[in-house]
Amino acid sequence: MAELTAAQIDNTVLDTLAAPSKTYWGIVGLLGVGVMIGLMCWGYQIVVGIGVGGQNNPVAWGTYLINFVFWVGIAHSGTLISAILYLFRAGWRNPIARAAETMTVFAVCTAGLFPLIHVGRVWVVYYMLPYPNQRTLWPNFQSPLVFDVVAISTYLTVSAMFWYTGMLPDLAIIRDRATGNRKKIFSILCLGWSGRLEQWRHYTRIYLFFAALATPLVISVHSVVSWDFALGVIPGWHSTVFAPYFVAGAIHSGLAMVVTLMIPLRKLFKYEKIITMGVLENVAKTIVFTGLIVGYAYGVEYFLAWYSGNSVEQESFMWRAVGEYKIEFWIMVICNSIVPLLFFIKKIRTSIPWLLIICIMVNIGMWYERFVIIAGSVAHDFIPHAWGYYAPTLTEFGIMLGAFCLFFFLFILFVKHMPSISMTEMKEHLHAGGNDAG
């Protein structure tokens, strides 16, 4: 374990904020092109109509809702790392907390676009908000879809505030080492933070309250997302296991995305001494745990279908494994619950290429999980003559590409212009007696 000093931590992180190279702007430009493709596809859909997507009877919820659930899921591990692990005093969270929180905020922003895209007539999207429309009708809070609007808006607000508050001392560090306009900008951004005793006294308290409030919130938000489905009577959706199943799946995918982002970041920004192999190994171990919960949930769904004696439910689950979406189903099972078991082998979980490959596979698997649940269930529900097949159209693929590019575009802009590692938390850890990242 390499010993670190406070100055080394500051210097390593501040070095990453140096003027970006042409390659960096090239990547930003490329991602920007991806975002433009997505916007153009969305614009095309607005002009022509929602019919340009593949959603139709019986599958009215296609990739837009699949991506919505996927990105909300990605957002969850940020709060797990920053809030839940903070309450557990897990020191290994410190080097990755900031990037995970950033990922959370941008993932929720990306997720939040999909309901707007999905409703088609985006200009009347305010119908979802608790505000009376032209006919003085209010949204009725008897639907989980309306709960979801409240839950996601709350989650975005809370995670953004948690993220920004946590950055205040770091922004002051940058201000104190910057000159010219940069100093002026960071002076405004850090709200005049000076590390006064009084500031720290209130800051440590609110940070604790933030963590305490965000922990039940993170569990509630994906539970509410799961009730969008579980409160419908569709076979494959109507299940009491959905809330914990979705929460575990969300954390599973989020942790995999954290590793997917951390490995290139660690290499490019020379963070090897801060984001140690021990930190990545701990994330890998947590992925094994969440992978086992997800695998258990898959098994329980089949058990419930068999044990219920409900022939529709049994047919639906049999069809998942051997029907038109069998490839998607088996990608889901293998990538989410079998491949992560490789992390039981120390050699694999301490190998950077293996970590990256497995985590990317988990991300793919989790996207397909949402596909199988959302599209697969309604494609094959009660009445055989209403069964159907859904495949995304080019427009949907374009919008999906745009969403992925938007997420990475925002993330890559952030890590080069803001502190991607919490210098303060790292120094706090050192001050408390730890001599490494945790």
Binding site: F141, L197, R201, F209
Partner: protein, 172 residues
């Protein structure tokens, strides 16, 4: 206080900063402020600082949020008055979810408001005694003295192991 001068003692070790604060107590100089790069538990203990009361803002926010969320859900449901499967229009179980989300939202807003109010932020640093190294790795003990007595105050800081000392003119 235009007749006063600020002197900042910079310490790499929190223990030395605590020793300086102790020495200041029995001296003719006044402790003005302490700046630190991380939360300083020992200094807090020395100055007998109690726990922050910011939690009351959070609590108030949470209570207001719960009531708001619950009432909003009840209000909107009564605008429609739709009876589904003979169930009551005002369903307390589903509305608890809305109440819960608003509790967290308003609790967090109260938390932030409390922090800004109690920490007196946003603030301007210009004209205040501050050393930029305090955001790096130094604990800065700021004390005031009469003009011409800076050297004595500096000597007190040096005696307690100050790594550097900075005298700042009072711009007030």
């Amino acid at each position: 206080m235009p007749d006063k001068q600020y002197v900042i003692g910079l310490y790499k070790e929190e223990d030395n900063a605590v020793a300086a604060i102790k020495s200041l107590k029995g001296s003719p100089f006044d402790l003005f402020e302490v700046h630190s790069p991380v939360p300083a538990e020992k200094i807090n203990a020395e100055l007998k600082k109690s726990k922050s009361k910011v939690g009351y803002f959070t609590l108030c926010g949470g209570i207001i949020g719960f009531i708001t969320g619950f009432l909003l859900a009840i209000f909107t449901a009564t605008r429609w008055s739709l009876i589904v499967s003979g169930k009551p229009v005002v369903g307390f179980v589903p509305f608890f979810i809305v109440g819960f989300e608003f509790t967290i939202l308003f609790g967090v807003l109260g938390n932030i408001l409390g922090f800004l109010v109690m920490s007196r932020m946003p603030a301007r640093l210009a004209g205040k005694p501050y050393d930029e190294r305090c955001s790096g790795e130094y604990f800065g003990v700021v004390a005031t003295c009469d003009y011409g007595r800076e050297e004595k105050l500096s000597a007190l800081f040096t005696k307690n192991g100050a790594d550097d000392i900075k005298v700042e003119k009072n711009k007030n």
